[in-house]
């Protein structure tokens, strides 16, 4: 029997591509609220901490409503609690949070996936609603050069509690990926995207290869109906986390993981 005629791509056969990763819930088993509690709970004097934490508590109803309806609004409401905190302090706490919490709660299989994708020619890019002072140290440890994160507006060295546009949530994540791909001459059709939440649907749908990671109920149903791959990253076993590792240690760890562990 005859076969279809082969359609050749014009120009280079292999398109340049990237892998876009959401962070909270996708690469790590934490979310924005965990970060906010950690940062506010370590701000300095007890009275300061209590004031900020109380600010967070009174916003809980608003946060809940926002979580139900609009991820953009959730980010706006949540970041208001940082009003008045100095930029230096946030940067220091961001480093500390990354080392103590984020690295500890990173899914080992997610780190493996980033490295394996990198080896397959997919440059990693983080696209997350977490603040830049947390994401930057993490990106350094994971060897990720490009990231899009939420950025606070500062006035005379102190956070105003407002976010710079674009706020990294929902449609804006997708728009950022399109702009990034255009600027870097990537083909979105050839790019991969990893996210865990239904709110990331526009972000995932804009990419050629969307993957649902530990998806919530709604994303899971969508992924099934759209025939997207669903993958599950497992938590690190106690005592086998990446906590405290720098880039060199992470590289060595990944190398060991990718070479596999023989059964005894």
């Amino acid at each position: 029997m005859s076969v279809h005629r082969v359609k050749q791509r014009s120009g280079r056969d292999a398109a340049r591509a990237a892998a876009f990763y959401d962070l909270d819930g996708t690469l790590a088993g934490l979310n924005l609220v965990n970060a906010a509690i950690y940062l506010l709970g370590n701000l300095g004097e007890w009275n300061g901490r209590l004031r900020y934490l109380a600010g967070l508590v009174v916003r809980i109803p608003a946060l809940y409503r926002a979580e139900q309806h609009d991820r953009h609004l959730l980010n706006v409401v949540l970041f208001e609690v940082f009003k008045g905190v100095s930029r230096d302090r946030l940067v220091t706490l961001g480093e500390e949070y990354c080392d103590r919490m984020l690295m500890k709660h990173l899914y080992p299989q997610a780190v493996e996936m980033i490295e394996a994708n990198r080896s397959a020619g997919l440059e990693p890019v983080l696209v997350t609603g977490s603040p830049d002072f947390i994401v930057e140290p993490l990106a350094t440890r994971l060897g990720i050069k490009e990231f899009a994160a939420n950025r606070l507006i500062y006035s005379r060295g102190h956070a105003t509690g407002r976010l710079r546009e674009p706020v990294m949530a929902g449609d804006h994540k997708a728009a950022w990926c399109v702009a990034y791909a255009r600027a870097n001459r990537l083909e979105l059709e050839a790019c991969w995207g990893y996210a865990d939440s239904y709110y990331d649907l526009p972000f995932l749908a804009g990419l050629g290869h969307p993957v649902a990671v530990n998806p919530d109920r709604r994303l899971s149903a969508t992924a099934r109906s759209r025939q997207w791959p669903i993958i599950r990253f497992a938590k690190a076993a106690e005592g086998r986390t990446l906590a405290g590792m720098d880039r060199t240690a992470v590289e060595a760890w990944v190398e060991r993981r990718l070479n596999g562990a023989a059964r005894s």
Binding site: Q227, W228, A234, L258, A261, A262
Partner: protein, 546 residues
């Protein structure tokens, strides 16, 4: 006059070709008064009146199963072929690995106790009696999906499961580099990679089920415990084009390559093969009418058929699939042999051919195949279009020895609804293969050249294979290559009863709403002189085409 079944019991493998008379009534030529024929149609059945003159090939009746399988297994272990008995090879300090065929065999999965449970219980008891403690059980999945805990439990039985799961009973992982070792290269420069645990064992025992003649032999170890690095040497379009057919291992380049690799394995490892053969008692009890010639249906058979079709027609296709997936076949064991791989396999092959072989005179212009709801790669899953292609053109087309049932340039009619549906957790790479690769080309050589390596190394698909329950990223390519001999041989393929014509078009097939329409399309050029053969499945049959 003796019934054909009685004669079949007397058949010996070597004499099969001289016993044509015993199976003469399995090839039926229809006339105008013939009853409509049942044709597998995905998760349903068609009941179609076929044109007068159509030749229908029926499967032989089931061989009688062994009355006491456990005793037969014990006998085989004590009287192996061309090897020392199992107990004589054991000492307490040795390391033993038992590799087991995975869920792809038999189809549908058999009623409990599964043959592998029976084999395992005997083997494990022997090992325990001789004080062998360092024992691992590896499910020989190669690049198939990992079996789930419940599937493994059902297959190996409670005893082995309780004692070995999960530390010493697990699925093979073809992507765990630390668990793989290269044994060497064959004289055809084929790299032979194998499970490290198996390679470093003092004794490797393989437990096999031969459902069809392409199973077993060196294919068990050299394929079942091998990663992509090995499989790519024979699972490729060039090799598969040289297979005439997969069901005739002596004339299959795939088997020749696997044999070369297997012999290299056996030179370095102490392999003790245990092979079994099953009869074709695929459907029993209330469904045993599926094995019968429709012209001989009794009123009771007709009533059951009506009830069966009414039940299938009254539920959604998801529920229908679920009901069919839960069906367990009452297969019986017709033989068990142990010992040296090739000697054992010769015996098993003889029994398998004895079960399935039907002498048939000549090829036809049109071959009708009904693709059922199940194939080796969708147990407890969905039969997607790529698997329909593999089952129709790969497996069912190859149910022959000597010559294909259809003439060169002839037409194959595949009866299946062909829905664009996939299981995203079991077959993720199939989805991309179907929507992206097949949209660009259906040429197997081109697919191999342009896309295979990308899919084989894709980290997401590797992750889903290793940690989820997905087939390996490269698996849809193998399914496509599997249909390559048929694509080379046939002039056209028509999907009859196709619900989504664009799916047929993506596979390079034509679509017809009904079987009548498909037959009219297939015979339009030849007119009334066109010859038609319908291979009546289930259960299975292999045509020895003269």
């Amino acid at each position: 006059m003796a019934r054909p079944e009685a004669k079949l019991r007397e058949l010996k493998p070597a004499e099969l070709r001289h016993e044509v008379g015993a199976r003469r009534d399995l090839v039926v030529t229809l006339n105008r008064r013939s009853e409509p024929r049942l044709i597998a149609y995905g998760d349903d059945f068609m009941l179609e009146k076929l044109p007068a003159g159509t030749r229908v090939i029926y499967p032989p009746p089931p061989l009688e199963s062994l009355p006491d399988p456990d005793t037969a297994i014990r006998y085989a272990l004590l009287h192996p072929l061309n090897a020392d008995p199992l107990f004589a090879q054991l000492n307490p300090n040795m390391r033993v690995t038992i590799a087991i065929d995975d869920i792809s065999l038999p189809l549908p999965p058999m009623r409990r106790p599964d043959l592998r449970e029976r084999l395992l219980n005997q083997v494990l008891q022997t090992l325990a009696d001789y004080g062998v403690d360092d024992v691992h059980l590896v499910i020989a999945t190669a690049l198939h999906r990992r079996m789930t805990e419940s599937e493994i439990r059902r297959m190996v039985g409670e005893r082995a499961f309780k004692d070995f799961w999960p530390d010493r009973l697990y699925n093979f992982d073809g992507e765990n580099r630390a668990e793989l070792v290269m044994l060497g290269k064959t004289d055809h420069n084929e790299e032979v990679w194998l499970s490290r645990r198996a390679a470093e064992s003092d004794l490797l025992i393989y437990l096999n089920i031969n459902l069809v003649p392409m199973d077993g032999g060196h294919k068990s170890v050299a394929v079942g415990l091998a990663p992509y690095q090995s499989l790519r040497h024979h699972h490729n379009p060039a090799t598969l084009r040289e297979c005439h057919s997969y069901m005739d291992p002596a004339r299959s380049a795939l088997h020749t390559s696997a044999n070369r690799m297997g012999r290299l394995v056996n030179q370095q490892l102490n392999v003790f093969s245990i092979e079994t053969a099953v009869n074709n008692q695929m459907y029993g009890g209330m469904l045993d009418f599926l094995h019968k010639n429709e012209d001989r249906f009794s009123d009771w058979d007709r009533m059951r058929l009506k009830g069966f079709r009414w039940t299938l027609g009254s539920v959604s296709h998801q529920l229908r699939r679920e009901m069919l997936n839960r069906y367990a076949a009452p297969y019986g064991m017709t033989g068990v042999w142990a010992g040296e791989t090739e000697t054992v396999h010769r015996q098993a092959l003889g029994r398998v051919f004895q079960q399935y072989s039907v002498p048939v005179k000549g090829q036809s212009d049109v071959l009708i195949l009904g693709v059922p709801f199940i194939c080796p790669y969708n147990v407890n899953s969905i039969m997607n279009p790529v698997l329909v292609q593999c089952t129709g053109l790969g497996y069912l087309f190859n149910m022959f020895r000597n010559k294909p049932l259809v003439k060169p340039g002839g037409t194959v009619i595949i009866c299946h609804p062909l829905r664009d549906e996939f299981h995203p957790e079991h077959h993720p790479s199939y989805i991309e293969f179907f929507h992206r690769c097949l949209a660009e080309t259906t040429d197997a050589m081109e697919l191999e050249k342009r896309f295979e390596a990308e899919f084989a190394r894709n980290p997401t698909y590797i992750h889903m294979y290793r940690y989820g329950h997905a087939y390996h990223g490269v698996h849809p390519f193998y399914m496509w290559y599997w249909g390559e001999p048929a694509r080379q041989h046939c002039g056209r393929v028509i999907a009859a009863g196709c619900e989504e014509p664009e799916v047929a078009a993506r596979l390079g097939w034509e679509a017809a709403d009904t079987l009548d329409e498909a037959i009219a399309m297939a015979t339009s050029a030849l007119g009334r002189s066109a010859t038609i053969t319908y291979l009546h499945l289930p259960p299975l049959v292999i045509a020895d085409v003269e």
